[in-house]
Symmetry: D2
Subunit: 369 residues, 4 copies
Amino acid sequence: MLGVGLIGTGFMGKCHALAWNSVRAVFGDGPDISLVHLGEANENLAVERASEFGFRRASGDWREVINDPQVDVVSITTPNQFHPEMAIAALKAGKHVWCEKPMAPGFAEAEAMAAAAAQSGKVAALGYNYTQGPAIRHIRKLLDEKIIGEVNHLRIEMDEDFMADPDALFYWKHEATSGYGALDDFAVHPLSLLFTLFGRVSRVMCDMAKPYASRKTRDGTSRAVETYDSASVLMHMENGVAGTLQVNRSAWGRKGRIALQIFGSKGSILFDQERANEFQLYVTSDRPTEQGYRTILTAPHHEPYGRFIPAPGHGLGFNDLKIIECHELIKRIEGQAAHLIEFADGLEIERTVHAMARSFKDQRWVDVR
Amino acid sequence: MLGVGLIGTGFMGKCHALAWNSVRAVFGDGPDISLVHLGEANENLAVERASEFGFRRASGDWREVINDPQVDVVSITTPNQFHPEMAIAALKAGKHVWCEKPMAPGFAEAEAMAAAAAQSGKVAALGYNYTQGPAIRHIRKLLDEKIIGEVNHLRIEMDEDFMADPDALFYWKHEATSGYGALDDFAVHPLSLLFTLFGRVSRVMCDMAKPYASRKTRDGTSRAVETYDSASVLMHMENGVAGTLQVNRSAWGRKGRIALQIFGSKGSILFDQERANEFQLYVTSDRPTEQGYRTILTAPHHEPYGRFIPAPGHGLGFNDLKIIECHELIKRIEGQAAHLIEFADGLEIERTVHAMARSFKDQRWVDVR
Amino acid sequence: MLGVGLIGTGFMGKCHALAWNSVRAVFGDGPDISLVHLGEANENLAVERASEFGFRRASGDWREVINDPQVDVVSITTPNQFHPEMAIAALKAGKHVWCEKPMAPGFAEAEAMAAAAAQSGKVAALGYNYTQGPAIRHIRKLLDEKIIGEVNHLRIEMDEDFMADPDALFYWKHEATSGYGALDDFAVHPLSLLFTLFGRVSRVMCDMAKPYASRKTRDGTSRAVETYDSASVLMHMENGVAGTLQVNRSAWGRKGRIALQIFGSKGSILFDQERANEFQLYVTSDRPTEQGYRTILTAPHHEPYGRFIPAPGHGLGFNDLKIIECHELIKRIEGQAAHLIEFADGLEIERTVHAMARSFKDQRWVDVR
Amino acid sequence: MLGVGLIGTGFMGKCHALAWNSVRAVFGDGPDISLVHLGEANENLAVERASEFGFRRASGDWREVINDPQVDVVSITTPNQFHPEMAIAALKAGKHVWCEKPMAPGFAEAEAMAAAAAQSGKVAALGYNYTQGPAIRHIRKLLDEKIIGEVNHLRIEMDEDFMADPDALFYWKHEATSGYGALDDFAVHPLSLLFTLFGRVSRVMCDMAKPYASRKTRDGTSRAVETYDSASVLMHMENGVAGTLQVNRSAWGRKGRIALQIFGSKGSILFDQERANEFQLYVTSDRPTEQGYRTILTAPHHEPYGRFIPAPGHGLGFNDLKIIECHELIKRIEGQAAHLIEFADGLEIERTVHAMARSFKDQRWVDVR
C-alpha cells in the first residue's frame, strides 16, 4: 500500500491525480495506491477537488499533507517558487517527493533541494514527462543500439505561441523577477530530452530576443518588457557532439512543438512532440534507392505503449505520459531501476539553464561546470 | 452516487475501467462513481483485476454483476456473441447498459437488444468511441455551421494490417461462422462516424475480396479462407450525398487509419484517426492565393479537450476517448442531452452492414431499409 | 535529324514545344531535333507562337503541317474532338504521331485511330505523361521485384477542384454532348497509371454523381447540369486484384491529386501526384519495431531523374514529364524499347472508361471486354 | 535578338543551356534568343555539348566566347575559382554576365568582380535560383503585405547528406584550401533567401563542427579533415530581427532541405525546398478554433507559375527556377525592374559568410560590416 499526498490542484495537480488514479489499472503491478491527502491553499477548493480526484482527506495547509502519517509520497504541483520549501520539508518529514519542474527559480534553492534529497535517502523525482513517451523511450533504445551509428549533430527546438499576441497585456511573466523568459519557462523541457538521450551539456553560447519591446498595461499605459520570449543557443555536449537548442514562446502557430533532429554516422532520427505518437528514422542500411525517413507509429512493441492499448497506431495522450512517469516513480520507490530524472540530474539541467543566461549576459561561450 | 458493474477484463474492459476511474477527476462534475462489481469468467482473474481496477467486489459469474443491487450501470466488454444475452438481462434487471460495439453477430439479436432497451426505459449506449474525439466533435460543429457549405461527396477508409501477414495461421476469424470479415470487424467504426456527422446510409453497392485464398493450419495442412479481409462500398446517404466506404484488415502499413474526406460547396475537411489530434480544413473564404488545407491541432476550444489539458497541441490518447464517452453516458443517465450512439441508432448501423453483405452476395445495389 | 510538326498551341501545345526544345540537351542522345512546322487555326497566332517556340514555319491549316515533307513526327495537342481526323491523316501521310489523351470522344473513333496506327507501321503514342515520372517508373520496378510481394488491393483517386464553385456559370462541359463528366475528363489518367503498373481492368461497377444539379447561365436563368463531376468505381483487374478508382473535379482543395495506394503481401506503396517528387514505401522486411512508411525523395538513381539534375531531392516539374515522354517517343521511333502508351493500349484505356459509363447507366457490374 | 555565350558544361552549364532554350517559349516575350558560342576546356566535349545544347559555335578556349562579337551575354558555370577572371574579362569585353554562385573563393576577388561590374555599366547577375521559385516570390509579397505582421524571429536550415558517409575517402573538399566547409558550400543559398526576403545580416556568432575528424585516403592511410561539415550561426538582421542559420552537408536523410521558419506578430510562414511546390501560412486573422498552418500549393496566381502551367498543384522543378532567373536577367538587360541578385548584393552575401568564419575563428560575435 502506497499512501499519496498531493499539493496543488491546477493543471499539473489534476494531471498527477489522474496518474495516481490510473497507474495500477494500466500497469497491473505494484502496491495498492491509496489517495490519502490533498492540500490546496483554498480549503473549500481542497475539499471539492479531493472529492473529484478521489482523495480521502483535504486540507488548506500543505504542511498537513506532508505530516500525514499515512502519506508515503508527496506530489508537489504548486508554482515554482514554492517547490524548495515544500520539497525540503517533505523530504525531512521522511516522504518521497514527486515535484514538478523546474526545481526552483534560483540555482541556490535548487542546490538546497538536491542536498536535502541526498541527505534524506528518499526518492526525489522531477516531473519531466516528455522523457516518458514510448517514442522517446524507443529512440533512446535505438541510440544505444547505434542504429544511426555515432551521433554527431543535434538540433532541438521548443516553440509555443501563448505569448505571441502583441496586444496581450503586460503581466508578471514580463517582469525580470519572473526569470529570464522562455529560457526558464521552456528550456528545461528540451534539456530533459537531451539529458535522457545524450547526457550533459558542457558549453553554451546563448542569444535571447524580445519580439515586443513593450506591452500595454491594464491602466492604458505601456511598460517595457523585461523578459526574453526567445532564446537560441549554440552548445557542445560533454560527449563532444555539437548542436543547437532554440526556444520561443511567441512563435505563432506552434502549440506544443518540441522538435528534435539527431544526425549520426549511419542515419538520423526526427521527433516532434506535436505528433508524439510517431517518430522518423532514416538508416543507411536500407538499399540506397529506397532510403527515406520512415514514419513509425508507436505500438505495443514500443514500451510501455502496450500497457495502455494492445493495438498499434491508436495513440497515447499527454496525460498518459504522467501515468508512465508515476509508474517509474513507484518502481524507484520499490527499489527497482527506473527511468526518471531525479533531483541530482534536475540540478544539472538547471545549472545548464543558468549558464545559458550567463552566456547571454556576457556575450560569450560559457562552460556549464 | 453511481454504482458501476463491469463485465469483461480484456482490452476494452481495461479501457472502461480506466474511464470509470478518471471521469470524475477529468470533468469535475456529475455523481460520485463507485466501482462496485467486476465480472470475469475466470474467478481468480476477476479478483486480481478487481484489485487492479479498483472494484470492490469480483465474481466469476456475470449474472452476479447485473443482479448486484448497488450496481446502477453495467459495462459490457465481452466478445460480441455474449452481448445480446448480457445486455438484455442487464436491462431487464433495471440497469443502464454501456455495451461495446458491434451489438451482435446477427441482426435479429441486435433487434432484440434494441427492443429490450426501448422497453426498459433505461439508457443503453454503445461504445463507439471514435465519435467522441475533440476533432470529430468540432468537425460536426463546423458542418452544422455550413463552414464548407453543403456537403456533396464523402469518402471514408478504415484500414489496419493485423491480418496482412500471409504466413499467419488460419484461425477462427477466417471461418464464415465469425461473420463476413472486415465488414463486421471494421465497418461499424466508419459508419458510426458517418451517422454522427451526416445521418443514415440509404443505398449500398458492395464488393469484397480475399487477399489470401487459403492459409496454413497448425497441423501443417492448408485451409480455404472463408472471410473477406477487404470491403469496398459505393453508397448514397439518406440526405442524397454519394460516396464510398472502404475497409481493409490486411493493409500493410496501416495501423489505425480511419481516413475521412468530406467535400462541400465551399470547402472540404480531412481527418485521419492515426493523427487524431489534428484535422484539416479547406475553405473558399480564404483569399484564393492563400487557400490551402489548414492543419488544425486540437486545443481547449475544441470540446472537451480543455477538460483534459489546458494547453493546445498537447494531445489526447485513445483511452481518453472512452473517458469522454463515459461522461456522455453519465450525462444521459442524469437526463441531459448527450452525444452518444444508443441501441436504436446502433441497430441502424448494423442494418447497414448487413445490407452491404447482401449487396455483395447479390451483386447489386441494395436499399438499406 | 528528326523533323517535328506541332498542331495546337494551348497548354499542351506549349508543353510539347518545351519538350522538343529541351529533350536533346537533357538526354544528350538521339537525333538532332528540327522544329519544322507549327499549325494553329489562327494564322497570326501560329506565326507568333512559331517564333516563341522556335519553329521555322507556321500555318493556319493543320494539313500543311502533316503534309510538310520535312516533318517526321507530329504532335497533336488540339481539343479531343479533332484528334481522330488529324491523327489518322498524319499516319496516312506517313508521319509518326504523338497525340494528347484521351484519343477521342467516342469509342468508335478511337478504334479507327488504333486501326490507322496499326496499318501505318508508324509510331502512334499518347501523351500520358503521369506514367513518366521517376517515382512511378521506380514504383514499377519495385513491383516487378516483388518488394511488396504479391499485390492484392489497389485504390486510386484523382481529384481537382476546377469545377467545384457552385456559382460558376453553366458552360459546354456541363452539357451531355461533352461526355460523361469527370469520367472522360479524368479517369484516363489514373487508368494510365493502372495500365502501366498492373495491366488491364476486367470488370467495373460505377456510380456517378452531380454535386450541383443546376447552374446559372449567362442570361440569368438556370440550367440543369447534364454531366457528372464525380465517379466512383469498384473494379477487378485482369490479374485478379480488386480495388477502387475515384475521380472528382469538384473536390475543393484538391489541385492535382492522383493518389495511389498499393497493398501487397509484404508491404505497401503510396504515391500522390501533388507531391510527385516523393513516394512512400512500407516493407515487412524492416524490423517490426521500426516498420513505417518511408518517404523516399526522388534522386538520380530513380531513372531518368539523373538526366535532369545530378543531386537528389531537388525535384522535377510537370513539364519535365513531357520531356521524358518525348525521349521515350524518340527511342521508340528509333526502334528501341520504350516506356509509352501507344494507340493499341490507349484504346483499352478508353474501352474501360466506356465500360464504366455503361455500368453506371445499367446499374450493374460490366465486363470491360 | 540576344546572343548567348556559355562557359562550362557541367550540371549548371546544362541547367543554363536548358534555360536559354526554353525561356522564350515559356514566357512568350522578350527578344529572340540566339545560342551563339559554347566554351568548355575540352574542345571535343565543347563540340559535342554545343550540338546537344543547340549552340552554333564551340570552343576549347573560353576567351573566344567572351570575345565573340555576336555574344551579348555570357553564362559562367565553371568552378568558383575561375569566376573572377572570366567574369571580369567578360564585363571588360562589354558583355552582360550571368555567373553561378558563389562569386569567388576569396573576398578580395569578389570585391574585384563587383568593382568590375560597377565600372562596366553591364548587367552582372548571380545564379541564386532558389530565390526565384513561385513560393518564395509569393512569400516575399505576403511579407510586404504584412500578412504575418512585423517579423520578429527567423530560422533557416540548409542540409544535405552528400558528405555524410564516414567511409567516403578524403578528397579536395576536405582540405582547408577548398574553404571553410559547409559554410562556403551552402550558406550562400540560405543567405540569398534571407537577403531576398528580409535584407542584410548585421551581426553573427558562428560555431562549426566536424562530424568525422579524419578520413581514409586512397592509399589506405588516414588524413585529418580540415573543413567543417556543419555550421550553426546566431545572427541579427539589419532590421533588428534575431534568428539562426544552420548548414550541414553530412546530415543523413536530408537531400535538398532549405527549411525556413518566419515568425511575425500576426502569424508565421514555413517553407522547405524539398517540397518547393508548397509553403505553409499561419495567420491569426483566421477564427481561433480553426487556426492552423495552411499548406498552400503553388498555382498560376503565384507568379510566374502560370507561365509554365495553367493548372494549380502540378508543380515546377529545379530546372524551371533557372528559366525564371533567365527571364529576370533578360528583363534586366532590357532595362526593366527585375528580381535578381546582382554582384553588389552578392558581395554582401559573401561578406556575411566571411564574417561567420571570422566569428568562429575568434569565438565571438562579429559585425558583418
